[in-house]
Each structure stands twice: as structure tokens, then as C-alpha cells.
Symmetry: D2
């Protein structure tokens, strides 16, 4: 399984969470990655944790201000990027452009979407992976795998009908080892999570308990 911890704009110390992630990753079969705020990428990558960006823009190098250039993310240690998270929605053309930008810079791509037919849509754009995150479950503590298992199964089916080799992740409300296992049972290749780790009193323990 792949576990991507999105630190969002939380107050969690990104280096502390990343160090814990690097430890857990080394001690388990699970591949754990951290998606910190863009400004924290280099510090997180320095911990040895697998480091992802939360967003990349579709722009090429040039006269663009305040938008992350994929190459700038990569040179600061990112190896992948989320695209079109429900808190950072892009136009269809920009999703397409962001995938191209990420590939140009050597970043892996996970494109998020809200429902199975949107998952089929983004799978058609050729990312490495897609992630189903029903917006209404984000931050609720109720895992998508329990609240709506059919949506995960349908997303897996929708994505694989477009591209049999694509990875499919799910997210929203995931915070326990049982949630991760339920996601795997529904066919997911990984999970996205955020508050369950980033807002835990002890993120390292929360991560360890997640990966058992």
C-alpha cells in the first residue's frame, strides 16, 4: 500500500511528521510519503521521507508569478505531486497541463476527483494514479471505506476500465489501520490522509498505529 499524508495548511511540524514517516516507511512494507506545504518541501525531503507536492501549476518556465513551477518542486526534493485536490480544483485544461508539467519535471502524478465518473475522466488524461475523495467526507473522521464503500469500488472499476495499469487511491476520513485495510480490500492501491496524522497529538504514534 501507498500512504500519502497531506499536511495541508495545518500547524503540524512538517519535519517531525516527515521524520516519523521516514522511520515507519523503513520499518514496514508500506510506502509512506509526505505532502507538505510548498515552502517546506526542501526541509521535508532532507529527512529522507518520500516527499510530494500538494499542487503543481501547468506553467512552463517563464513569466509567471506565484505559481509553482514543476521543476522548482523537483529541485527541492519532490518526487510526486497531487493535482486537482478538492481544496485546489483546476480547470480540465489545467489538470491536463499540470500532468504534462509534472512529467516534464520527473514527478509522479496523482489526480484527485470527487466521484467515479470524474475518476474515469481524469484517468483519460494519463496520470500515474487517481484518487477518489468525496468532498463531503473530508475531515469528518468517518472513513470513505466505511461511509461509502461502493464509491471506492466504483472508482477502481472506472479507472481501470480506462487504464488497466493505473493506481487508484482513496481518501477522506481515513485514520486507522482498519481503514487502510478496508481500502485495500475495496481494491485501492493506497490512501490519502491528512488530519488523522497531521492533527494527532503525536503524529509519529498515529503513523505507526496506521501502518501495522
Amino acid at each position: 500500500m501507498f500512504v500519502l499524508v497531506n499536511l495541508k495548511a495545518y500547524d503540524a511540524d512538517p519535519v517531525e511528521v516527515a521524520s516519523a514517516a521516514a522511520d515507519v516507511d523503513a520499518e514496514s512494507d508500506t510506502d509512506v510519503a509526505i505532502a507538505p506545504q510548498t515552502a517546506d518541501l526542501a526541509a521535508v525531503a532532507d529527512t529522507g521521507a518520500e516527499t510530494w507536492a500538494q499542487h503543481t501549476s501547468p506553467v512552463e518556465s517563464g513569466s509567471h508569478t506565484g505559481q509553482p513551477l514543476a521543476e522548482g518542486l523537483a529541485r527541492n526534493g519532490a518526487v510526486g505531486t497531487l493535482i486537482n485536490h478538492s481544496e485546489r480544483r483546476l480547470s480540465l485544461a489545467d489538470i491536463d497541463g499540470a500532468i504534462a508539467a509534472a512529467e516534464r519535471a520527473g514527478l509522479e502524478t496523482v489526480v484527485c476527483a470527487n466521484n467515479p465518473h470524474q475518476i474515469a475522466a481524469v484517468a483519460a488524461l494519463g496520470p500515474d494514479a487517481v484518487a477518489i475523495e468525496p468532498p463531503e467526507l473530508i475531515g469528518t473522521g468517518t472513513p470513505v471505506s466505511q461511509a461509502d464503500p461502493a464509491i471506492v469500488r466504483d472508482a477502481v472499476e472506472a479507472a481501470e476500465s480506462v487504464d488497466p495499469d493505473i493506481d487508484v487511491y482513496c481518501g477522506a476520513g481515513i485514520s486507522t489501520a482498519a481503514d487502510v485495510e478496508a481500502a485495500a480490500d475495496l481494491g485501492a492501491d493506497g490512501v490519502l490522509l491528512a488530519s488523522g496524522v497531521a492533527k494527532a497529538d503525536d503524529p509519529a504514534t498515529a503513523l505507526q498505529e496506521l501502518i501495522q
Copy 2:
């Protein structure tokens, strides 16, 4: 063939163009529709021309200001709507929502996209039709069917691989009967055009010459 004339924000008299469209539609095998500015919908529909909206928002009725509600378009005579035109790009979630809103209001849907894999993506969202319009050819006077015939063929193939029954239109630079015929030869079920008619000295004649 279906010919959709997008009046954009041009100065053309929408009622004059619509009247010409109604005449041409009645006299030919071609189905001609007009997409005026939102405020002109009722006046255009009154001519008897098939009337389309240039855009609909994904919102449901409620507390939303300055965004077209699909039901409001329908009650003023629209029978269909463009969605995600390259001059009015939407997020993926909003394209999905706009299709749902249009269907709720009984409007036909044509979702625009820039290239064949975006066409496959939007076809996965279930609209009635998709339209390929390479942005770099819009307004050039060079028809897409001549500048890049492969993109039209690829778009038809991409769309039909997702949904065999979907209609596929093409647009950008189309202004003559030969352009329309070339589009049909490439597998398109219709064309979108704009300046070729809307900016013509005599829109009625331009429409008649187009439909021979």
C-alpha cells in the same frame, strides 16, 4: 450536420442572425442553432431559431448571484448549452455539475475540450456531445479540418471509445461550406463556428453559403 453559431460577445445583432438561422434551418437538411449572450436568449428564441446558451453554471436554485441557473436559461428558450468553452473554462467538478444542472433543466449539453485526451475525459462525464476546439486556431480563419485533420479524427475516436453514441463536433476557424464538409468527412457530427458568421458583413448570406 449540426451547426452551432456562437455569437460570443460580438456586436452582431443577435435577432438578425437568429432569423437568418431559422430560415436556413427550415430550407436545408442542416440543423442550425444560435448561442447568443445570456441576456439575448429570449429575443433569439422568439425568432424560432434553435437557441443555445454559451454557458451554464453548476448551481442549483438558491443563494447564488451572477451565475446562470440552468432553469433560467431553459425558461427563456434555451434548448441546449455549451459547457467549458475555451473562453469559459471550468473546473472538472464544475463541468460535471454543469452537465447535471443542464440535464435537470432539460438542456442538451455540448462540452468543449482542447485535444483528444481531454475529449475522452469529458466524454466520461456523460454529456450529449463533445466539441474539439484547438484554442490556437480559434478566430484564425484557418479551419481545424484543414490545419489539423488528425486532431478531429482522433477526437472522434477518443470520444466514441468512451461512449459509442456520443456526438462529436469540431470548431475553430470554420467559415465555409467546404470546411463543414471536411469536418463531416473526418467523422464530426457537427461544427461550432463564430466569427465566420457573427463578424460577416452579411450574416444571413454567410450562413446560407455555409449550408449548401
Copy 3:
């Protein structure tokens, strides 16, 4: 006083509300105007009611799709337009451009903002009027004049320090004659309201009771 009824994307019959507004306007000293959805402008203007747009775009005539051209609003009967409503926020440059577009088309302009220093900011752009609408009070039924009278007074002061001749309106939660009177007492030249009339069981009666 000026009373602008924003019909938003509500289900209310725009012609029914507009007819009631025209009657109330004729029978009272209050200037009552209706801002329907864009597609309904012509039908509302036909009632004889003073008709406003909910939004105008900054574009000039040309190759723009799905964005209201100010001239198109005017030719369908609008005499004024809201700009930057909190449900249709614009960039600063687009507020500036929308004011210019509206003036070009002969439309009066009311620019909305959330707090007194934003009111000072938009007043500097030279519209005919500004409107303070604290977003957290919109749709609550608690009138801004009661929930936060200081914000109205401060907005009036902020606007008039920039432009002594500008009109200042307030909105959010206004639904009774007492609310309108309280707004006037705080220095407002008018009010914006929406659900209090548009969602009333009998909009005509609601309007009559408002204007006593």
C-alpha cells in the same frame, strides 16, 4: 431610499416580483429596483420595473464566451449592475474593468464589499455607489443594521471620505420596514435585499410591507 431586490438564483417568478416592484415604486417615495438572473432581464424590464443586472464582466465586445457584455445587458433593459457581489467576487482589476464596461454601456454601478476598508478601496475606483454586505449575515434574517450597526456607519464614513458624492447601500438580513429605516438612520442611501422578498410566500405583500 433605494431598494434593490436581488433575485439571485431563487425560484421566485421574476415577472411577478418585478410587477409588484413596479407597483410599489409608483405608489411610494422609495425607488425599488429588481436584479433578476441575466436571462430574465428582458422579461423583467418589460414589466416597467427598474431593472438591474447581478453582474457584468469587464470584457469589451469581441471573442468572449459565456460572460455578460455590458452592452448586452443594457440592450435588454438593464439600467444598472451589481459588481463584486460576495457570491460573485472579482479580482481588483476586473472590478475596475467592470465599472468601466458598465459606464461605457450607460449602466449605473454598485460595487459590493465586505467591510469598511474594502468599501474605501472600491470607492477609489469611482463607481456610482458602494454596498456593504457582511458575508456572514447574508441570508440569516438578522439585519446588518441590528447585528452590526457600526459596520454600516463605518462604511458610510469610509466611502464618503474617498468620494463625498458616492451613494452607500447596505445589505444582508434586511426584510422589514424597520430594517430599512434603521439603515437610513445609520446613513445608508439604500438597501440590498434578497431572500426577504424573493423567498416570501407572497413577494408583492413582502415588498409592500417593506416600503411603508
Copy 4:
């Protein structure tokens, strides 16, 4: 004078330019700062150069993905931030929110605008400084101080009529010491520049020649 070098999404090595800026800053009376891409903030700050962000979002810490939190910029070495650059325009409400976010995190604020009345507008929001950058001159190599000196003088006057203590910068096309001096003569307290340094063959020499 204050010279802010916006590295945009250019390919320039941010550490090389920042090191040159730190040297020039130390050897001259001019205050030179560098605004790199967000992911490069920490590396640039490590050079000792005064480090600025190109953009901050208005969000508070919490569930927000892919948007720079002001505190995250500050903890990686930023001491100030551009807001509303013409390549990263914000809604009025978000400009207001971004200023508040920056102040909360201890960042200085420079808000950009296109013309003198927009400058008056943003000055009313209370930033530390404003910057006039006519978009049509950006990247042209023709300095604003030469192409349109009146716009700089009018911007200074507009800003100071709102807030006598505010700093006023100008930008667009500035690349030589003469341009900087001309800006100072027109009343500007500093300049924004980008391609003149970032795209120079030898950014260090370009910076030294600029600051004489």
C-alpha cells in the same frame, strides 16, 4: 531605494542570484531583496539575501491544500510578500485577507496594481507598500519610468493621498541604473524588476550594474 527582484518561474539559479543580491546589498546603500519561487524560499534565505514570497494566500492554518500559508513562508525565511501581482491576481476580498495573513505571520506586504486608481484602492487596505506595474509594459524592456512617467507620479500621489506613510514602488521594464534613478526621481521608494536580472547571462553583473 528598495529593489525587489522577482525570479518568477524563470530558469535562473535562485541561489546564484540571491548570493549576488546579498553581496550587492552589503556593498551599497540600496536594499536588495529576492522573491524566488515558493519552493526555493529556504535555499534563498540561507544565502543571507533578504527573501520575499511572490504570493501568499489569505488562508489561516487548517484544511487548505496547495495554497501558501503565510506562516509557512515566514518559517522558511520570507520577510515579506508580494500580493496581487498582475500574474497572480486576487479578488478584492482575498487581497484584504492576504494582507491580514501576512501581518499575522510578520511579513511585510507589497500589493501590486495596474493603474493609479487601483493603487488608491489597495492603499486603502493598509499594506506596507504598493507597487504600480502597468501589465502592458511587463517584460518589454521599456521601463515604466520612461514609457509612462505620469503613471508613476500619479500612483505616488494616489497612494499618498490615502496613506502618507505608505511606500510606493514601480515596476515593468526596469533593467538599468538609469531606470532606477528615474523611478526615484518620479517619487518611487523602490522598484520591482524581474527579467532584467533573472534572464541576464550574468545575473550578478546585471545586479551590480543596476545598483551604482
